[in-house]
């Protein structure tokens, strides 16, 4: 290793386009070692220097499996770095897209398929928020990821926690050490040979990753592409570069999804609310030719925080976005399956209403103007333990709120306390207010 000590190789974990990843033991602990095939690199020295800089800068947040230590260069000039191993409980994004992972039965040596899917809708949307937030942090640190694709994430399907891996191509915005990207994820200007990866091309690739996660398909593969039958180099250049057409481009119907092949996209396009679909339409229409029109991470984050707040878990077992519930009036949602109705609450900082159901949560960023914390639960709709059947909101934050009771008076609600939900309820969180 660069600063002394030796790492002992235990086994091979995997190999990619740039090198091989090994399981190693170093200082009594197990790590992953990535060893580069420098013959595939344009500028190995600059690449190594960049890795060194990234290691000394440290990760933008704990959502990154960041390079930890460089090795010394071997006699032939090759080198590697070590990083922490993927923690238990995380699956690769590829397995989520495949909906299963292969596990090798140790006795027969046969591959067995094990299903991989998000446990709850809230975990899935939280995962999306986490991905967007990780790239926001990276871009704020002045760096670009360069090779954003489905192989770059580990995800906990129970919680939506995300770990960004393969961080070795991350470079200061404007620099590139040879990586182009993965077909299907590269921005059209890279495919066309007009640009190298940068923060703007990351934004395109991020939109592809988000689309794949939510709509489970390729945003550019529709009728027009399938007609080519065989995806040759020139058709890739055409359909992902010069003449990339989004499958749901409102002004160009030439590349619509094909039933029997793109069923996921067809299904999910009916489920997601318009503001989500509009963001993808923008990313993949005007955002194709004009990188400055691509959705910025902060905007994605706001959209997905809204999406998470619009999940309704109905008593009949149906869980879906409010866009998939009937709206008998402006303030109510109704389950199309069982007819149960849900009241909504309006926040002073939003122009949409949020459905209320047993177990629904508010997060700190939703009730505090300056907070960016989308994971700390600030409030939850619960049933009163002493008065069964009475629903109320519990203050899970560390601040005092004020809530209006049926006698018309605002009472202080201390952290840990709660108040019943009623027709005329008003809540004062501080700068932000809410009203049934």
């Amino acid at each position: 290793m660069e600063f002394g000590g030796k790492a002992k190789v235990l086994s091979v974990i995997g190999s990619g386009g740039q090198g091989t990843v090994y399981l190693v033991r170093f200082n009594g602990q197990k790590w992953a070692l990535k060893w580069y095939d420098i013959s595939k690199m344009n500028k190995p020295a600059a690449f190594r220097k960049n890795l060194q800089n990234n290691i000394s800068d440290g990760p933008p947040s704990n959502k990154f499996l960041w390079p930890k230590y460089l090795t010394k260069e071997a006699e032939d000039g090759t080198f590697g770095y070590i990083m922490e191993l993927k923690p238990d409980g995380f699956d690769s994004f590829v397995d989520i897209l495949n909906t299963y992972k292969l596990e090798i039965d140790p006795l027969s040596g046969r591959a067995v398929k094990r299903p991989v899917k998000f446990n709850t809708l809230s975990a899935m949307v939280t995962c999306v928020i986490n991905i967007v937030n990780a790239f926001r942090q990276l871009h704020r640190a002045g760096k670009s990821y360069q090779d954003l694709n489905d192989g770059g994430f580990f995800i906990n399907v129970n919680t939506g926690a995300v770990l960004v891996c393969d961080c070795d191509n991350i470079a200061p915005d404007g620099s590139n050490f040879g990586i182009g990207g993965k077909p299907g994820y590269m921005a059209p200007e890279i495919v066309r040979g007009l640009a190298q990866p940068n923060v703007q091309t990351d934004k395109y690739s991020l939109a592809v990753v988000l689309f794949k996660l939510l709509f489970r398909g390729d945003p550019m593969e529709g009728e027009k592409v399938v007609r080519d039958v065989c995806l040759t180099e020139s058709s890739e250049l055409k359909h992902y570069g010069q003449n990339a057409v989004f499958v749901y481009d409102p002004d160009d119907a030439s590349n619509r999804p094909v039933r029997g092949i793109h069923d996921n996209i067809i299904k999910f396009w009916r489920i997601y609310p318009d503001y989500i679909k509009d963001a993808f339409i923008r990313s993949f229409t005007t955002g194709i030719s004009d990188p400055s029109k691509r959705i910025i991470e902060n905007e994605w984050q706001k959209l997905f925080i809204r999406l998470r707040s619009e999940i309704i878990q109905c008593g009949c077992g149906r869980t879906n976005f409010s866009s998939m519930f009937i709206k008998p009036n402006d303030k109510t949602f109704k389950c199309p399956k069982c007819g149960m109705e849900f009241a909504t609450i309006g926040f002073s900082n939003r122009d949409y209403r949020t459905p209320l159901y047993l177990g629904c949560k508010f997060y700190t960023c939703e009730i505090s103007q300056e907070s960016d914390d989308f994971s700390a639960v600030a409030g939850e709709l619960v049933e009163n333990k002493l008065k069964p059947g009475v629903l109320g909101i519990k203050n899970c934050s560390d601040r005092y709120w004020k809530a209006k009771m049926p006698d018309g008076v605002f009472y202080d609600i201390a952290p840990g306390k709660g108040f019943p939900v009623w027709q005329g309820l008003e809540i004062d969180f501080g700068e932000i207010k809410a009203q049934i």
Binding site: G16, G17, Q18, S39, K40, N42, V94, L97, N98, T99, L102, G109, A111, F118, T120, L121, M124, D150, G151, I179, G180, G181, K182, I190, R192, G193, L194, A195, Q196, P197, R216, G217, E221, E223, V225, V226, R227, D228, V229, C230, T232, E233, S234, S235, E236, L237, Q242, A253, P257, V258, R259, G260, I261, I266, K267, F268, R270, I271, N320, P336
Partner: protein, 290 residues
């Protein structure tokens, strides 16, 4: 990064007919969906099928003539058994990899009647006997590399990988078979590689098949045979689905002719690089191996 010298690529009007027009399109692409209005579908936002994958068929053309008998065939069978699990994951989430094995000796024969997804593929051990009907194998491959036959995937396909392994001189008119095969669009756009085994195999014939000398390799020992098969199979099945490196030149837009056969060229480069790193028998220094 200046785009000042950028010019629209000139498309030759005569060539305007896409080279893909000769892919034998037999099915009509289904009509895009029209909207139905009520909740009459599976609306569970968590239930999804696997993302639509592009299909990639890897064709192995294997010489099972009598001269392959013994060590060569034993080695080949063992390598192939070991190789299949290794390339299982190459497709990741974007590609469904299928394998088809065509053997040729006195007769040509498919190991299975249809390409099998790599996850389910099981290698059936091959036996060697008879003569080397390579031309007949080319004809049979041409016949099956069609949308009506082995390449019938309704979704999009990558051009196939075609990997030829032989240890001898063809005993039939291979040229006639190759001429037929060369008219096949899947062959034209496919990634072709070949492995000559032992002294008798003729690398020139193999280069005629692949179209370029750098995708032809040669193995003289059992160890080399195993290495070469793995190098070619893994490298060729990864091209197209892995992140790729980039040229520094962003001063002009890529045109169709810039990317034509780019993957075949890349395959040639990568195979040559990997081979140059393999320790050959002659490279062993005098003071090692004792």
């Amino acid at each position: 990064m200046s785009n000042e010298h950028f010019t629209e690529p000139e498309v030759n009007e005569n060539k305007n007919a896409s080279p893909l027009d000769d892919f034998d399109m037999t099915e009509n692409v289904a009509a895009p969906e029209t909207d139905e209005s009520i909740l009459d579908f599976d609306d569970d936002p968590l239930s999804a099928t696997s993302v639509s994958k592009k299909s990639l068929v890897i064709f192995f053309l294997i010489d099972t003539s009598g001269s392959m008998k013994g060590k060569k065939m034993g080695e080949l069978n063992t390598v192939m058994e070991e190789l299949i699990p290794e390339i299982r994951r190459v497709g990741e989430a974007d590609t469904e990899v299928k394998v088809a094995v065509l053997t040729f000796s006195t007769e040509v024969r498919w190991m299975y009647s249809t390409p099998i997804p790599i996850e389910d593929f099981e290698w059936a051990r091959l036996r060697a006997s008879g003569v080397t009907s390579m031309g007949a194998a080319f004809k049979e491959l041409n016949h099956r590399m069609s949308r009506n036959s082995f390449l019938s995937s309704p979704s999009l396909s990558f051009a196939p990988v075609i990997f030829l392994m032989t240890d001898g001189y063809p005993s039939d008119d291979y040229k006639e078979g190759l001429r037929e095969l060369q008219t096949n669009s899947w062959y034209k756009f496919g990634l072709k590689a070949a492995l000559g085994i032992g002294q008798e195999a003729n690398d020139n014939i193999l280069a005629e098949f692949t179209g370029s000398a750098d995708t032809v390799v040669h193995a003289y020992t059992g160890g080399q045979l195993a290495q070469m098969i793995k190098i070619i199979a893994v490298t060729s099945s990864q091209i197209g689905s892995k992140s790729m490196t980039l040229s520094d030149d962003t001063s002009h837009e890529l045109a169709e002719e810039d990317v034509f056969a780019a993957k075949q060229k890349l395959l040639g480069q990568q195979i040559q690089e990997l081979i140059s790193k393999q320790p050959g028998d002659d490279d062993v220094p005098f003071d090692t191996g004792w």
